[in-house]
Each structure stands twice: as structure tokens, then as C-alpha cells.
Amino acid sequence: MSLRTTNKATSSVQPGDATAGDCAITLHINGRDYALTVEPRVTLLDALRERLLLTGTKKGCDHGQCGACTVHINGERALACLTLAVMQQGHEITTIEGLAEGNALHPLQQAFIAQDGFQCGFCTPGQIMSAAALVREGRARTDDEIRELMSGNICRCGAYNGIVDAIVAVLEAPDAAV
């Protein structure tokens, strides 16, 4: 038996009985529509990781304290563990799985590899998603500003300086289309 690593096909059928109060919703993730039925209290993070098997977005604390679950909602960074799935209908959700264009890595992904911006890699999707939105926000110009505006993304392995180097490399790239 091998692991399931691809996301489930769209399905609104629950194993077992659906409970009264469950909501049938459609989430638009990485350019694709997913139909699912969830309880109102289900977080976007759990919907991604447990219902859709999009496990690239990580759960580090489930309480909005570590940043590992950072995704984009309409291009802005958001913590999926503090976001309810039912509230995301009609929004454009981007996860780490949607950042690369086919085989072509996003400039930040390339930079993280080139600048050693990761060690164990568990916080890495959140770091990259946070960094991508940071670059688009256009507010971080200095090293200190990058660090302050990325300080919501914890890295226990301590790869911080490589992450800053990767972000700087992308900010300074001539045609940084991020």
C-alpha cells in the first residue's frame, strides 16, 4: 500500500451521514474548483489537509502563532488555521502547490534553494507564501523591514538568514514578476 499524495477528486459525498448544518461549498484553489461539504467550524487548513489532501500547507500550531499555514487569499497572505472554509467561497485561494508554473519553479522557490532558505522544510511552504505576498505588498525594502514583516513565520531550524537572502535576491532581481 502506498501513500495518497494527490488531492482527492472533487466530491461532495461524505463517508457516513452528513450532519445537519453542514454546508455545501465550492472552493477555488490554485485555479481549480473543489466542491465539498463541511461543518461551519472547519478551518481552511483542515479542509486543505484532510478533505482535499493538499498537504503542502502545514499545521504547526493551529492557533495562528507560527505562520506555517500561510496561504494567499486574493493574493494576500492569510493564516489558513484562523480562516473558516465556509467563508472562502468566491475567493481566489493559492497554496504552495499552486505557486510553480508546471515544472518551472517560482523565483522565490528557486531562491530558497540557491540561498539555503530551508533545513527541515516544514515551515518552508508558509515562509515562501508569506514572502511572495510580502514582495507584492511592496513595503519591505531593508533587511530589518523584511525581518520584521516576516517575523510571523517561525523557523525552529533557524534558517532565517537564508530566507532573508532569498527574499533579497528576488527583490533585487531585474524582472521580479512575483
Binding site: T5, P15, G56, K58, K59, C61, C120, D144, E148
Partner: protein, 749 residues
């Protein structure tokens, strides 16, 4: 396992064990301590190439390794070693962590910074052997003598005019039965190395930056369910009774499991499982409601059962007559706080069980799962995944309940695959922690030199919890050999005596990065500075003067000098800043670090601006990885030195989340300057732990340089800093610590 090897190697015959041990016990204990301090080489084991190296049909190699990839780059380094001897480019080698049913039962377990050190020779030999097996077959196929073939780029080619060749993949295509020769084969000459020593990118890089890498938390199969387990609310709580309560009626619940000493829920989602678990009727005994002060009283030097682990000369009698310097130190409990919590997926079949989990000790895991399910260990296959941080925490199946065992039990009860992922709160309160320690040092400093030093240490357990027959081993050995890592005094001091007291703490304690290295290096390297100042000498020159004249001493002198030069030691730091220095020896690696700090005296916050680290870990396989480990150790070492402490109140660990137990962020991280002293003539030693040792004392020593005040209790929180400064201001003697109520780390005033 290590103990058995040690005892065998020390020549203790089985029949005379009892008598021999009693008679030779004190000397035996000192030899064990010396061995654990890294002055003892265990015999290496050969690897069968056919068990570990697979030539794939598409010009790729699959390398199975018995080591976990947890960010330290072990898979990349090992791939470089294999690729070098196999003459294959690194980007055509894929690495997988062998399951417990793959490969041979050798070199399993990822700890002690030993992955490269242990496997460097055996893996080179195995890869070279495979290369020669392929060469012999290529020679047959091409009808040429084997010595006329050159291995290059995953192929064999003839030398000379008529260019003929055949790829490894083509060779294995036709021949499916191979036999490894018994005679040793020639290894590549190091001056021919093209891959080893190169700063090549991580083999798992692409998977990590795209989110495709599978960690224990990410494992899923068709029909997977999720489990949550009841947790003891206090340290000594034991399960009295468990009833399903409201759980069976709650949404998504598939089954409620109640077994001996174990209770939990299986549901369709993890949130549903947790909600239902919280709705069960569970009662617990309370046990003793430990307070922080109780633990500190327990972990205090003195009394019976102190064991001497290092002795030279007559330190005690000399110091009884004349002690010129005394000091006391404490280190608090610390959490691993890896970004990925414990997690496992179990799939029970008719004849056995498969468990995917992020683990540093897959054989421990398999054994515990087998025991819990009443299976033979051969019926259990543990498949290790990537680890989202290990740091010693993901080897705990024998110390505390593990996600793997929990998932296995729930899967069997539910008759379905079950995934268990620990919550962050469970990670803080129901795992194991780095133990508390207490130290007293005394020395006679005369004429600019330390003539005698006595070190007393009390510590909670580090490795004893992982040892079978824990209390018996504790009684025989007398101390915890993990807790004494870093306690070996390498300085050339004629009279030395180190005495340790093992204090088993009521909550689970265990291995944390470096084991005893951080708790021991803080006192000894702070004390070296205290002695230097007492002698009126510069701390760098004082240390250089106390180094031994052997190879270790020379290597230590080299890293001290290199770090000092790069950091500008001896020149005036920028205004408001000071520098501190510390160094350590760990498993054959030497590191020296200099920290440059400033202080916000109003907030009591130490700001770390820059760390210069010089490291000699023998032959470097990949300088990127070494740099990465140094950087990681600096951040984790500084974070734990300045901010991290787990405290206990009313019988329970207080912190339940990352809002209460603060970690360094990107904004706290200093500039880190790493100097690697590559020593190709020395066997590669590790770099995953050694660099974490010097941070705390370097920061403490810098604080002294800045303020004239000595900090003696880790972590150096704002409260402790302010209390220390107040004592200086009021000219009061500095107490070891202020009363510890609930620990709160204020980040902003």
C-alpha cells in the same frame, strides 16, 4: 545497544560481571564517561551494497539510507559520498530512508551528529564495491579487460581509440542476480574527489520548496481516519477510568477506543476526533502537584550517590585547603518545539501493521508498536518520512506515548487506517523536555593558571529513559551518560574532579540537541571566563594558555584564533556593545564562537547582533550543510539561552502554545559569520549539535564584559537580567534566582 558494545569492548566477561563490576565500578564509570566524551572508537560495520544501492532503469540510482533527513542534510551528504564512488552525478541519485524491513539492521537511528561520521567509510566501500561489480559485468558484456574501462557519469567506457561503453542501467537490465565480492575494493583517492566537499544543493530541495515532501503529519491513504488520545492533565496523573460519555454521538465519530491505560477516539476529521475525545468521561489520579521550586530542590547537587566521572590529581584536597573562586549555575527545562509535532499513520493488515511516521529511531518505534499490539516485531514495518525537525524529540517511543503506537492501537480497534497528529499543546505538556541542571564549581587560580577545579553537577535524565532496564543501568553506571556530554574538561588543568548526581525528575526528560552539551557548557565556559577575570587575563588568551598540546588542543587553538580574528576580538566593539567567547569539543568536532550583544537596560533585553563561529569538523562533505547547521545551532542556542524555559505549576507544564513559549523570530536573529576549517586529513565528524554549545556562555560572557554582572541561570530572561542589574546597582550579592512564579517573557515594554 551502545552500552552492550561498551561493556564488550571494555572486556567485561559475562560470567564475572557482578564481581568485576563491584570491584571495578568507580574506574569503570570513569571509563564510560571518557568513552561518551568521544575518546573511544567503536568498530565499524560493513554494508552490503545490494541492500542499500539500487540501479534504476532510467540512469538513476536509488540510495537507501538508515538515517533520517530532518534538515541537517544527511541525505544529501550521504548521496554525495555514494555518488563519488559510484561515479554518478548527484542529481541522478535519489535517497530514501529505509523502512525497518529494508536494508540491514545496521547504523539505524539518527542521533549524536553521527550520520556522516558513522557511514563515511562503510558507504564509500559499499558504493565502490557496487561500482566494481558493475565494472566486472561491463567487462564481460563488452568483451574487454576490466582495467581498460573507466567509470564516468553512470557508465563504463573503454579507454583508447574505439569508444565503446555501456550504462549502469543497461547492465542491470539483463542481469538480475548479483553477488557482492568479499574482497575489499579500492576506494577513490581523495585528490580525485569531484562531489565530496562540494557545496551542492540539497537533494530534497525541490520537494521541500514545492510542498511535495511528505512529512509524518502529511501521510494519508485511501479511507484514512483521524485519532485523538486522552492525555494526563498533570505530570503524575494516571488513568483511573474512561467512559465514552458524549463522544459516540458526536459528528464524524467512527469509534471510541478504551483499553488498558489508553483511551481515544477515531473520527473522520482530526477536529472531530479531538472534540469527541474532550467529551469523553475520563477520570485521573492527580498524583503529586509538583511546583517549579520542588523541581529545583530535587535537582540540586549534594548528598549521597554522587559519582566521579573525571579525575586527575587531587582536586578535592587542594581545594579543601585553598579555593580562590566559587560559582553556581542553573539551567532550566527546555522544549524541542520542532515545527512538525509528533505524527503517524497506521494501516493494520491481517498479518501485521505498517506505520508511516517521522522518527529518528525507527527500530524503537517498531519494537514499541509490536509490544503494544502483541505482535512479533517482524510483523511491523515502520516507514520513516521526512521530519519537520527532530532535535532528539522524535526518538521517544520508549520514554513517552508515541503517535506511532497510538495510531497503531486506534487503527487496530477501528479496523481502518488511522492518522494521529499531536496538537501543539500536547507537544508542550505530554512529551519530554531537556532536563534541569544545577552546578557548583570551585577552583584555585594562581599565577594566571587554574591549578585545580572541582565541578559538581546534578541533572535530570537525558538518555536513561531510552535505555532498557533503566533503573538497573542507572544503578550500575551511576550517572546519565547523555547528561554528561560536554562535562568533560579538556583544558590542561593538573587537578580536576567532576562529580555528578543523577536526579530522576517526575516528568519525562530526554535528549535535546546536544544532550548535556548546552547545560554543561554554560557553567564551564562561564567559569573559564570568571577564572580569566580573576587572573586578570583576557578570556581568549587564558583559554589558549590552558589548551593541551595534543592534536585536540591544536585544533581548538585554531578555531579560537580564527573566530577571534574574524570577530575583531581585542578591538573596541561598536558603542554600547560587548563581545563574549566560548568554545567546545563534541564528538570529534571543535567549535569556537564569539557573540556580540547590546543591552536594553530598561527592558532587560539582551540583543544579539552578531555571532562569529569557527568550526573544525574534519573533512567537510558539503560546506553548505555545515554552514546551515552552524546557523541553525546559533539560532536555537541563542533562542533557548535568552527566551526559552518550561516551568511547572500545580503539577503541570505551564506553557501550552507558542504564544507562551517564545522562539526566536527572523527579527531576533543575528548576523552569523561561519568559518569552516576544513581538515581533509581528519575523518568527518558531526556538525549538527556541536555549534549549539557555545552560544549561552558566549552571550553570558559578553553580558559580563558589558555590565560587570554575571548571569548564572539559563535562560537569561529580562526578569533575571533586571534582577542582576539591580543587585549591581544596590551593591547586593547576586542571588542565584528571583522567585519563580509563572514564567512570562515580556517582548515589548
Amino acid at each position: 545497544m551502545k552500552f552492550r558494545h561498551l561493556l564488550t569492548a571494555l572486556g567485561v566477561a559475562s560470567s564475572g560481571v557482578a564481581i568485576t563490576i563491584l570491584v571495578a565500578l568507580p574506574a569503570l564509570r570513569r571509563r564510560i564517561a571518557a568513552a561518551m566524551a568521544g575518546r573511544f572508537a567503536l568498530p565499524g560495520k560493513q554494508l552490503d551494497p545490494l541492500s542499500w544501492i539500487q540501479v534504476l532503469p532510467d540512469e538513476r540510482i536509488r540510495l537507501l539510507v538508515p538515517k533520517a533527513e530532518m534538515g541537517q542534510g544527511a541525505h544529501t551528504g550521504l548521496a554525495q559520498i555514494a555518488a563519488e564512488e559510484l561515479e554518478v552525478p548527484l542529481d541522478r541519485v535519489e535517497v530514501a530512508h529505509a523502512s525497518t524491513q529494508q536494508g540491514e539492521n545496521k547504523y539505524r537511528g539518527t542521533f549524536g551528529s553521527a550520520s556522516i561520521h558513522d557511514l563515511y567509510d562503510p558507504l564509500r566501500r559499499a558504493a565502490a564495491t557496487m561500482r566494481e561489480m558493475l565494472r566486472a559485468e561491463a567487462a564481460l558484456r563488452l568483451g574487454v579487460p576490466p582495467e581498460t574501462l573507466v567509470a564516468r557519469d553512470g557508465r563504463f567506457e573503454t579507454i583508447g581509440r574505439a569508444q565503446r561503453g555501456i550504462s549502469y542501467s543497461a547492465l542491470v537490465d539483463e542481469k538480475t542476480r548479483w553477488q557482492a565480492p568479499k574482497e575489499p575494493v579500492a576506494l577513490k583517492s581523495p585528490d580525485q574527489f569531484k562531489v565530496i566537499g562540494q557545496p551542492l544543493p540539497r537533494v530534497d530541495g525541490r520537494a521541500k520548496v514545492t510542498g511535495q515532501a511528505i512529512f509524518g503529519q502529511d501521510t494519508r491513504v485511501e479511507g484514512v481516519l483521524y485519532g485523538a488520545v486522552v492525555r494526563p492533565p498533570t505530570i503524575e496523573a494516571e488513568l483511573l477510568s474512561a467512559q465514552p460519555g458524549q463522544a459516540p454521538t458526536m459528528p464524524g465519530v467512527v469509534t471510541v477506543v478504551i483499553e488498558d491505560g489508553f483511551a481515544g477516539v477515531v473520527a473522520e476529521t482530526s477536529a472531530q476526533a479531538r472534540a469527541a475525545r474532550d467529551a469523553m468521561d475520563v477520570t485521573w489520579t492527580k498524583g503529586r502537584l509538583w511546583q517549579q521550586a520542588d523541581l529545583e530542590e530535587l535537582v540540586t547537587v549534594g548528598g549521597a550517590h554522587g559519582v566521579t566521572i573525571q579525575r586527575a590529581g587531587n582536586a578535592h584536597s587542594i581545594l579543601a585547603q585553598d579555593t580562590t573562586l566559587r560559582a553556581e549555575y542553573r539551567t532550566g527545562m527546555v522544549a524541542h518545539a520542532s515545527m512538525e509535532t509528533q505524527a503517524a499513520l497506521a494501516v493494520a493488515g491481517t498479518s501485521g501493521i505498517t506505520v508511516w511516521t517521522s522518527t529518528q529511531a525507527e527500530t524503537f518505534t517498531a519494537r514499541q508498536v509490536a509490544q503494544a499490539l502483541g505482535l512479533n516485531v517482524r510483523q511491523v514495518e515502520v516507514i520513516p518520512t521526512f521530519l519537520g525537525g527532530g532535535f532528539g524529540r522524535k526518538a521517544g517511543d520508549t520514554v513517552v506515548s508515541s503517535a506511532a503506537v497510538e495510531a497503531a492501537r486506534l487503527a487496530r480497534a477501528a479496523g481502518a487506517p488511522v492518522h494521529v497528529g499531536w496538537e501543539r499543546r500536547e507537544e508542550f505538556r505530554n512529551g519530554y523536555v531537556r532536563p534541569m541542571t544545577h552546578h557548583k564549581l570551585a577552583a584555585r587560580v594562581r599565577g594566571g593558571r587554574i591549578e585545580a577545579v572541582a565541578w559538581q553537577e546534578a541533572s535530570g535524565d537525558s538518555v536513561l529513559g531510552f535505555t532498557p532496564h533503566r533503573e538497573l543501568v542507572a544503578r550500575v553506571v551511576g550517572f546519565d551518560p547523555g547528561a554528561t556530554r560536554g562535562a568533560w574538561i579538556y583544558y590542561n588543568i593538573p587537578h580536576r574532579a567532576t562529580t555528578v548526581w543523577r536526579r530522576r525528575m517526575p516528568l519525562a526528560t530526554g535528549q535535546w540537541r546536544g544532550l548535556g552539551l548546552v547545560p554543561n557548557l554554560f557553567p564551564i565556559e562561564s567559569f573559564m571566563d570568571e577564572a580569566a577575570h580573576a587572573a586578570g587575563q583576557d578570556p581568549l588568551h587564558f583559554r589558549l594558555a590552558h589548551l593541551s598540546s595534543d592534536e585536540d588542543g591544536r585544533r581548538m587553538a585554531a578555531v579560537l584564533t580564527a573566530a577571534a580574528e574574524r570577530a575583531g576580538w581585542g578591538t573596541t566593539p561598536p558603542a554600547g556593545r560587548a563581545r563574549g567567547l566560548a568554545c567546545c569539543y563534541y564528538h570529534g568536532t571543535v567549535v569556537a564562537e564569539i557573540a556580540e550583544i547590546s543591552l536594553d537596560e530598561v527592558a532587560g533585553r539582551i540583543r544579539l547582533h552578531r555571532v562569529v563561529a569557527a568550526i573544525d569538523c574534519g573533512r567537510v562533505i558539503n560546506p553548505h550543510q555545515v554552514r546551515g547547521q552552524v546557523k541553525g545551532c546559533v539560532v536555537m542556542g541563542a533562542s533557548s539561552a535568552l527566551m526559552e524555559e518550561l516551568t511547572v505549576k500545580d503539577g503541570r507544564v505551564v506553557a501550552g502554545g507558542l504564544d507562551e513559549y517564545l522562539l526566536f523570530t527572523m527579527a531576533d536573529t543575528p548576523a552569523i559569520d561561519t568559518i569552516i576549517l576544513n581538515r581533509p586529513d581528519v575523518k568527518p565528524s558531526g556538525c549538527g549539535e556541536a555549534p549549539i554549545g557555545p552560544l549561552a556562555p558566549a552571550i553570558g560572557n559578553a553580558f559580563y564584559a558589558l555590565t560587570g554582572v554575571r548571569l548564572r541561570h539559563l535562560p537569561m530572561t529580562p526578569q533575571r537580567v533586571l534582577a542582576a542589574l539591580a543587585c549591581r546597582r544596590d551593591d547586593q550579592p547576586l542571588p542565584l534566582d528571583e522567585p519563580m512564579a509563572r514564567h512570562r517573557n515580556e517582548r515589548n515594554l
